[in-house]
Symmetry: C2
Subunit: 339 residues, 2 copies
């Protein structure tokens, strides 16, 4: 690549910081030109200080998104501020206004058309007006339970149903995630917290919609269910201990129907002590396809990868609000051997 793509990082939470590290590591292909966050602890500091790097980057965190974009004029914004669209889509409109393509971790942006039809129209119009591509992606939603499933159907003449099973061993993940899935709670405490809407994966419905839209399937009914996984044994992680009979994590699943037939089943289990982590796609059809990523796709690292790998994709993409299903096959970018 002769000229490096200029990148602004919008949102410097844990994922945003990992994105920053990755962007800096790929400086042969991309150039960090700005960083945005509203946290007073971060504003005004060189990015290196936040990341604990010795060498200054020369990029100072700004809280005024407009000013940063005006000054930096990025090709692409890597956006990691929120899971939800309603509270922050103005950030995306602002990026579009400055001619910046966006790859965002916002789960609701992975398939926004049904949940937020009006916002989707506004985003699409703004993107087209300014000639930029807006994309929501990640490992899940964005890959493991949707794009990979669509890909699996690519060799099928007929598809009658799709079943995706993602099992994540949360023992290997960081403490906030273990707490987020309720590990170590009693079943009663889990149910109480669940009633407040604090548990569960965001984006399962979006994944269903991505698959259904990709196959042009008119889903008639969609059930989404959240249960806890009860630990059959004592599990000790680096951070906490789960006793037998306590909650080990979540079991979150969605089933989509046409008539009485369950045509799409997405099943996500994230719990400590999971012994068979995997991402499995089973396509019933002609021919059937039984695809599995053994050991599963490691969430934290891979989420950052899907975002950074989306940079050249949105930079080259057609103007408008895109999805992982409307852009070319995702692939690694700026690797060790890349020109």
């Amino acid at each position: 690549m002769s000229t490096r793509l200029k990148v602004v990082q919008f949102g410097i939470g844990p994922i945003g910081q990992s994105c920053l590290r990755t962007v800096l590591s790929k400086n042969k292909s991309i150039e960090l030109v700005g960083a945005i966050d509203i946290d007073p602890e971060k504003v005004g500091k060189d990015v290196s200080e936040i990341l604990g790097l010795e060498q200054k980057t020369g990029v100072i965190v700004g809280s005024d998104a407009r000013a940063v974009l005006e000054n930096a004029r990025p090709d692409v914004v890597v956006h990691t501020t929120s899971s939800f669209l309603a509270s922050m889509y103005d950030q995306l409109l602002l990026c579009a206004e400055y001619g910046a393509n966006v790859v965002s971790s916002t789960e609701e942006l992975s398939y926004p058309f049904d949940r937020h039809p009006e916002i989707s129209v506004r985003l699409d119009e703004a993107a087209k007006k300014h000639g930029v591509t807006l994309l929501g992606t990640g490992v899940n939603p964005g890959y493991a339970m949707d794009a990979l499933a669509l890909m699996a159907t690519g060799v099928c003449n007929e598809v009658t149903s799709i079943e995706v099973n993602r099992e994540v061993n949360a023992s290997l993940r960081r403490l906030p995630l273990q707490l987020k899935i309720g590990a170590g709670l009693s079943v009663e405490a889990f149910e109480e917290k669940k009633a407040t809407g604090q548990f569960g994966h965001i984006g399962l419905v979006e994944s269903v919609k991505l698959i259904a839209d990709g196959l042009n399937w008119p889903i008639e009914r969609l059930n989404e269910t959240l249960d806890c996984v009860i630990s059959p044994k004592k599990v000790v992680t680096p951070f906490l201990t789960v006793e037998e009979g306590q909650v080990a994590g979540i079991h979150h699943y969605a089933k989509a129907f046409i008539g009485d037939t369950c045509v799409i089943s997405l099943d996500l289990k994230m719990f400590v002590g999971a012994e068979d982590p995997r991402d499995a796609v089973l396509v019933q059809g002609d021919p059937p396809v039984d695809l599995v990523v053994r050991g599963g796709i490691f969430g934290d690292t891979a989420t950052v990868a899907t975002l950074i790998n989306g940079i050249p994709s949105v930079a080259a993409g057609p103007a408008g609000l895109a999805t992982v299903a409307s852009l070319p096959i995702p692939r690694a970018f700026g690797t060790k051997w890349s020109k």
Copy 2:
């Protein structure tokens, strides 16, 4: 889909006939409007007669491609006439001239830029001039050993090497394929026939190039090797018997290097008696990805599927010479549930 895409079948050999059956079965989404072949046994007959169908299709096989295209004005041509580009790229130019997008089984078209740079330029220019998309695809090349490998890297921050292993149990395939891989020959007879260039899979180098280009990897050296697989036991298929010590099939592999590092290894085994048929992609990187299609992707059926599933993709694609890596994720088309 409100209007059906109009399709012409160009080439009515075994794969072309399967394509015709599939096109006719998806008549909710696509409409067969023409068929081209030069075989005097087929010319002038209704397609139904060639396929052994009771009901007439109203589509008569024509030998004059220009006349068929002129009359039928298809949106998409499904092209299955040859593995090689040099002898037939004028067929593709003709399709472009009539404003028809093309999805072709021509192995060399899956990544034509290195082997046929001048033809590639001519095809790309013609496609752009007439606003059509030209694509070469299939299961292999086009999916199992290239597109799927690229897809697997989509969740990686770093990729240091890619290894693809495709093992096909030829016992389940038709007789011509079993003969094509030398099943039942002595090793000497295999070596003699191999020297005449009659064995081997077409497209392995194209798959390497698709991956390398997708990752922007500057391959410095590429070794391609064809061996026979010797049967360790007696194998009886519905068509023939292979004795212990006879040839069971082919082992065809390619290794691509940057410096002294083998960065891409594609390994294809097609033989009778294969006990672990599979399509496996192993990505070394961060994170590593260990993806496998258990039981493998069934070649004959899936090849037709990749072509037919390419119809809406080329119809909507950007003008020019495309590859599976430049178009959106392949997916099933016109299935039972599709609108």
